[in-house]
Symmetry: C2
Subunit: 358 residues, 2 copies
């Protein structure tokens, strides 16, 4: 692999016509990511469609075993099944894969990275590398809800030690893809017209309603989305199983889909090992990478999904000392955060990872 | 006061044209509440309008100091200012007031009642009573979010002792009145048409968005809606200040308005004094008054605001043991609940109180 190919990599986008795929293209362009050749890939159904990148149209090619010849970087967001099948093929062909699906997140040896939180997980990784097995390797992008939570919570964890998290999410339609966003819009039109809503993506009405996240319920009663927030946080914070449960942050999550288009919100309650007052927490967050604080008590102005939509930062507000703790040891804090699910929750985080590889 | 007047009371509805006032009329009719004379009251602006009750039209009268002559029961839902001014006048005139505003909820001597939770608070109260001061008295209806939470949580509290609650709400437009519901609808039409949304009731866009509850932020960083959930729960559970903070449940609440029309949802995390597993919690809730359980893990079917809208019961699901506690003493549970803000959260609870007075 030539030095030129590594500094101006050839980039494949797998799932280029999807909501995250489209955001990959926008983020790469906005951030002037150096690109040699751009190869948008998708299923046979979408092959032949055009996508726009920096003002030029590109024809989407069908994803096959031969798609990754000469590719240095492959950004995947086409579902776990596609990633399982094609990410190893892309890595074997010499591409570093940054995979937005859940397929490899918990796999040993696959780094799970939020650049503001655990950049050390990809120390030594670069485009053009080859592992012992000849593969360029796979890096996993965490779940959107996990990323947004950890960008906000990690600075406080570093300062005071987070022992327990109780989080409730308010998740946007974009988390279920472009079809879900369209369904929310079309259902809303139907309901306003007095017509019955058409439910294709979700089994129940989404317009003017909300519901528990539609991922499968595991044997412990939590759904898979909630368990992603638990397991991925342990991995990203270096608290995986082997290290003993006493050291691990305890996390309980309740994941709810709300009729918002593209930014997630999360209500987060933290139990801290050491005292940390709200003013100091706000100061830490104002200085934290990837965070903007909106915490105007006088004007009742706090983060909203509309503020976060199209915004690269995770927005944090409602920063306050938890009054439920009756003066027990350590401390507690409450936060309310919003982050763009398609940007920091998906495409931006993946591109930030890619930037670290050049 | 004659026996006849007490068993077939004359009833005044203060705020008869509002969202809760309209629900008062529907609930009274549905439950066949015995009524002698019905007197719908409202501000001068709404006086002269017609309201429907059991198929007949009634002309709304202007609320004045003389409105309560011969009235046995006055149901108030016209805002705290109106209640402060007119509820004492109604009580002095011989009516028992059931007040849906926050004006008297924390006043000593004013019972704050959820019939399923603390009916004993109005033992001995009846229509036609007179207190030592000659007043028939005021009973306060709790905040909607408090009622919905306590109907679900109290059966578990009785069984295992709730020590701490972390609650995040998903509150519907109806909590801010009929104008807010109309604003959500009209803004949604505007956004779908590509027009800028008109913000009259709230300072920011509500359609396809959500925001922290717009009540004032207190000095501790919590907003007034959140502190209602804290303080009202202490009063209803008989844990007011005098009893010492160690015995009181610790509560932290985050109240969020979501673009849903009329039922609130709440994500509730409980710390329990004694162990209580999820199966036993579900059994207790299935047998609890005013509760319906929707907890179908196999089909991913849990309470939604649309299920709760127009439903008298508080719906409870996502009942599961809290995995964040790492085997500490006692136990923890997570729940997700929905309740109709206008019915159990307001009008139904008030009418249930009135039924206890006959």
């Amino acid at each position: 692999m030539s030095a030129n190919a590594v500094s101006t990599p050839n980039v494949a986008i797998v799932g280029a016509t999807g909501a995250v795929g489209q955001e990959f293209l926008r983020v790469l362009a906005e951030r002037k990511f150096p690109i040699g050749k751009l190869v948008p890939l998708a299923s046979a159904r979408s092959a032949g469609k055009r996508v726009n990148f920096q003002g030029a149209n590109y024809t989407v090619e069908e994803l096959t075993d031969d798609s990754f010849k000469g590719i240095d970087l492959a950004l995947f967001s086409a579902g776990g099944g596609i990633s399982k099948q094609f990410a190893p093929i892309a890595a074997q062909a010499g591409a570093v894969v940054v995979d937005n699906s859940s397929a490899f997140r918990m796999t040993d040896g696959v780094p799970l990275v939020v650049p503001e939180v655990n950049p050390e997980a990809i120390d030594g990784w670069r485009l053009g590398r080859r592992s012992a097995d000849g593969s360029a390797g796979i890096i996993a992008n965490p779940n959107c809800s996990t990323i947004i939570m950890l960008v906000a919570v990690t600075p406080l964890h570093r300062a005071a030690g987070v022992e327990r998290i109780v989080v409730s999410t308010y998740q946007a339609a974009s988390g279920a893809g472009a079809a879900a966003m369209l369904e929310l819009e079309s259902q809303t039109r139907q309901v306003l017209a007095g017509d019955p809503p058409t439910c294709d993506v979700f089994p129940c009405q989404y317009a003017f309603n909300l519901f528990s996240h539609n991922s499968a319920i595991e044997s412990n009663g939590y759904n898979t989305e909630e368990m992603k927030m638990v397991r991925e946080t342990h991995k990203i914070w270096g608290q995986s199983d082997g290290e003993g449960s006493a050291k691990r942050v305890g996390i309980t999550a309740t994941c709810i889909r709300v009729p918002v288009m593209r930014a997630h919100a999360e209500s987060i309650n933290l139990t801290l090992r050491n005292p940390l007052d709200a003013a100091e927490a706000e100061r830490l967050l104002r200085n934290a990478p990837g965070v903007s604080v909106i915490n105007d008590n006088d004007n009742n102005r706090f983060p909203m999904p509309l503020d976060a939509s199209g915004n690269d930062d995770v927005l944090v507000g409602r920063i306050r000392a938890d009054i439920s703790r009756n003066g027990g040891p350590g401390g507690g804090l409450d936060l309310f955060v919003c982050g763009d699910q398609l940007r920091k929750g998906a495409a931006l985080n993946a591109v930030q990872i890619a930037e670290m590889l050049i």
